[in-house]
Point group: D3
Chain length 242, copies 6
Amino acid sequence: MPPDSKPTGLVVSAHPGDFVWRAAGAIALHVKKGYRVKIVCLAYGERGESQWAWKKAGVTMAEVKAQRHAEAQRAAEVLGAEIEFFDAGDYPLKLTEAMLDRLVDIYREVKPSFVLTHALEDPYNGDHPEAARFAQEARVIAQAAGHKPDPERSYAAPPVFLFEPHQPEQCNFKPNVILNIDEVWETKRKAFEVLAAQKHLWEYYTRVALNRGMQGGRNSGRAMTYGEAYQRLFPTILDELK
Amino acid sequence: MPPDSKPTGLVVSAHPGDFVWRAAGAIALHVKKGYRVKIVCLAYGERGESQWAWKKAGVTMAEVKAQRHAEAQRAAEVLGAEIEFFDAGDYPLKLTEAMLDRLVDIYREVKPSFVLTHALEDPYNGDHPEAARFAQEARVIAQAAGHKPDPERSYAAPPVFLFEPHQPEQCNFKPNVILNIDEVWETKRKAFEVLAAQKHLWEYYTRVALNRGMQGGRNSGRAMTYGEAYQRLFPTILDELK
Amino acid sequence: MPPDSKPTGLVVSAHPGDFVWRAAGAIALHVKKGYRVKIVCLAYGERGESQWAWKKAGVTMAEVKAQRHAEAQRAAEVLGAEIEFFDAGDYPLKLTEAMLDRLVDIYREVKPSFVLTHALEDPYNGDHPEAARFAQEARVIAQAAGHKPDPERSYAAPPVFLFEPHQPEQCNFKPNVILNIDEVWETKRKAFEVLAAQKHLWEYYTRVALNRGMQGGRNSGRAMTYGEAYQRLFPTILDELK
Amino acid sequence: MPPDSKPTGLVVSAHPGDFVWRAAGAIALHVKKGYRVKIVCLAYGERGESQWAWKKAGVTMAEVKAQRHAEAQRAAEVLGAEIEFFDAGDYPLKLTEAMLDRLVDIYREVKPSFVLTHALEDPYNGDHPEAARFAQEARVIAQAAGHKPDPERSYAAPPVFLFEPHQPEQCNFKPNVILNIDEVWETKRKAFEVLAAQKHLWEYYTRVALNRGMQGGRNSGRAMTYGEAYQRLFPTILDELK
Amino acid sequence: MPPDSKPTGLVVSAHPGDFVWRAAGAIALHVKKGYRVKIVCLAYGERGESQWAWKKAGVTMAEVKAQRHAEAQRAAEVLGAEIEFFDAGDYPLKLTEAMLDRLVDIYREVKPSFVLTHALEDPYNGDHPEAARFAQEARVIAQAAGHKPDPERSYAAPPVFLFEPHQPEQCNFKPNVILNIDEVWETKRKAFEVLAAQKHLWEYYTRVALNRGMQGGRNSGRAMTYGEAYQRLFPTILDELK
Amino acid sequence: MPPDSKPTGLVVSAHPGDFVWRAAGAIALHVKKGYRVKIVCLAYGERGESQWAWKKAGVTMAEVKAQRHAEAQRAAEVLGAEIEFFDAGDYPLKLTEAMLDRLVDIYREVKPSFVLTHALEDPYNGDHPEAARFAQEARVIAQAAGHKPDPERSYAAPPVFLFEPHQPEQCNFKPNVILNIDEVWETKRKAFEVLAAQKHLWEYYTRVALNRGMQGGRNSGRAMTYGEAYQRLFPTILDELK
């Protein structure tokens, strides 16, 4: 079986914390099912998501970025995923044409059967909707026959699942999918623990997972404990209603 | 295998035309897959959906209702579904406590794995949202342990799919599911033809099916010709993102 | 020219104040253009809209209703409109099947080319959305061939315009029509003055008219001073874009 | 100081669980601040919220209702609040004119400075929005000068705060207030424990309180641990922006 | 009569296909009524809308653009409209300050009585909302007295009509205008046929026109066969309600 | 008491008129209460808001800007506020990275307890939502530990209040706060009169203030005459419900 015959998933994350808190369950679950999962981490969260690092006297930007790079790398390893860093700068993200071009190439190379990214609105963090806009733009350009034309290429734009923001109602996030992550919960929790400086968020997002799990049980009548909520953007095409 | 081990579906339709134009594909498809599908037809559309019948001089209400009853029965037969009539009266529907009680019993007896009903708003036809409200109310009451208590009973409230109204945008209907009905299209079309007096709608809803089919193809990258659009109301619980 | 060849308009108002503050401009304007305009006033506002009347010691409900009846009658006369009272009781409206039947008959008799009624939501006054719901229900039933069948009858459901509530944003009211009422402003103001006990509202709704007028000027580039805002519910069918 | 010079609050709850899970923090907090708080409990949740009770062979409706009555009474005592039961029946609520009249009297007698009730939508439980609609209708009728006229009466409709439903996004619930309940958390937790059969919900709603608390801290920059989320329906009138 | 005394219309289209599928009826209809209609075609759709062209081995970008230019030119001729190309590049559109300046000049020169452009959202094609944003920005700047000041100039910002996107509900497109295009349907169809490579869309958009036509008939009670749906953005100022 | 121990407010206004018509009441009120209030005026409105100035033959851009600068300065003085001009250019605003950096510094220096800015949408004026976006972006970046790191710094992002646009419903503006500005109304009116060329707006916004005042009275049961409406963006954290 050639390597690229594996099913694949793509995650476009503004900062390292995002793919860990919001999507680590989906990543670990699909890896466990045999998917190749690739994370594109647009920035290191070096300015807006690294308060503890800046408390050290004399620390430099390069040091903070290196620290967050290492952390994100370890978290991806825990989850079994590949990761590529765009180093776009955060607060705000500074996404260039070259980065867009690179992300289009990644879509075409990975041919993901799903893409995970941020909610479309987030009044607490402008990098999040900007990452979502960028992920969507690249997804569509990858379809364009006249972008780096190649008659051999096959690519179909994948479904998009938005992951849960920190304060879902303030972001007008309305989940229509709850993913059962029971069988990979321990892995998700281990990825949390890589982000050693943010212990308060370990507990916060553990509670989110438990409450989404209970909601999943109520909506399905099936036993489940841990869930991850997503908002699917485009219609699902079904052969049977369920 | 006992007869009730078949998977089942339930359709709550205000008038006969509704289950034909809006849900005949889903009904025929699931029947073909081995489902038992039951239609509850709340009214005969005798006042609001039978213009042609009233053109006959001296026709009575009883005659019009009998005619629509026969038509709906034949359409259900074409689709392979059971049908039960509530004769609630139309324009407006006059739904009673006894009817609610009966629909709760049906939910508990059928144990559907999905329920199909109307969109939640329809400024052109007040019977439609009223039918949807009624279908939802019964679905929830059927869960209540204290309603006709029976410790043996098993019932889990099924997912709800709203079918497409005549003018979807005016009803704030936003489809998130497109069902591929290619393999039962001929059957759906035959059900249309049972409604012999409404030929203009045969063509209208054939065009709807073709356009939803093309949208289904665009959203999935899969070949398909005929579609039926639905709006799923509650989150789907998934073990894999797709 | 037979009397019923005049164009006509219908106004369904919960209480007397409503057609005066919210729609008197439209009424007077169309009367001036030769329309027959009929107002259906569902209740006298005897409980919720007559504070001053209840300050008189020993006043009875019958007296309050008579007083509001007379006031509404005079206001309709000032505007040149017919008025019919349903005396449904206010706070809350108690609308019966007989009243629904009567309103359906009115639609069929008047054959209005437009109907004016309340906004669909109003958290300050439940009678208002109830009146709107009732007006819409009757409008649709009047189309039903099987309701009091009569092959001679001609009736087409008219466009619905919702008039402006007291606090438009809280009612999710979004105007898409501003009616220029400059040529009947004096008449509208005279109708205000019939409601002698509510002087503070004379000024409030004069300011509303002036501000809607300025908005009308900005949206059209045309000079105008007084406006009345409406939300048209159904699509307009046009032969030319304007 | 006369007893009715205390500030007061009113809670309109469909079932006993609702005021405990959703509003016990607000109740205990205002009691602690010296408010008189009155709970109106419309139904006992005897059919829809008492699964465990119905597991006992031969139990009767009267016994289940008595059990839930006692539980709700104890929970109100723990919180320091008064409670009045309407025994309206649940699933669905059967609210009568006499109950509406009684609730109007309560508004006028209590003169609450706030009212707490359910979210306006809840596709999982039709009793919840029905309770909210009823609470709002009574709140407005209580203002009507012509309802049981009494020139001595003083009453101003209080602000309405909607409490958090089980699955907030599915109910289109968007909190705009987070109440800091740190100083009464232990009391809220004790009220949970009165509902002895629903231990899984003790933990669920403890997690909700912790996560709303962290969101409260993020939105205010103030330290806090436990929060209760509310959606305020009407504009706040302020003398200073904060 | 001087040439500029004709009424005029302006169409701002992202790609050639857009003005054909979505607005050809309005263009042909107003041309027939004596309007001067000008189309601004921002890009050739050379990358995203020209799949067939890229199937030819060795084809260059310049050739594809020339081919689409010719096609768009012919379609405009069929419709009787002028066309100006901005050659902004597609997927994504790269709109410059010079292009904005040029579009402002066009607004001032054409003085359109209406402008047609794209829906405000389109998750399938980012060029569409970008074109709409650009058309609106230029429309407002053209009003600014301090932009290329000229006291002789007369210009009033025209009403904006958004044309129907491919999947209207996914774009939150809600039509409030249906234009009757019966008398120019043959011309619209001829413009379709200029886009020779996209035969599947000829049929798709013919079905759209037929279904919008039937909806137009239902909403107006008037006979009509073909319609084009629009969403009017700003309030209409009326002298008579219709 | 050191000068920076005063409470403070920040206003981010696209053009001079905006802070006068929309926020002068809040500015004057908080100044009267002892706040330091700082206005950031992004552009002079030199192109889009200075029609009268451009009527003078031969006037230059520099002259128009100087005139508007003087006017805005005087209005700020009348209100007792500081003002800083960014001279970003209007129609459209051209906001640079340096300006963003400066606004972040201002947030950190002023440490406002509230920030006032524009509504998030405004189809009549693209500068308004752009100003709001910019104000929000800077507000969040000011929190970032890695932006100009300084362990001594204290800053918490303040609540955001959006002020009322010219046509609130068209901007989807829904006020949830009405500020009582009775005690500073004369000052607000004096600030209007500084804008000597826009007398028609003096009256328009006086009517807005009176109508918001009456709405404030209705919502609170308190006497008040003049109001300013705001939409608070983030949840309020409360210790008591009111």
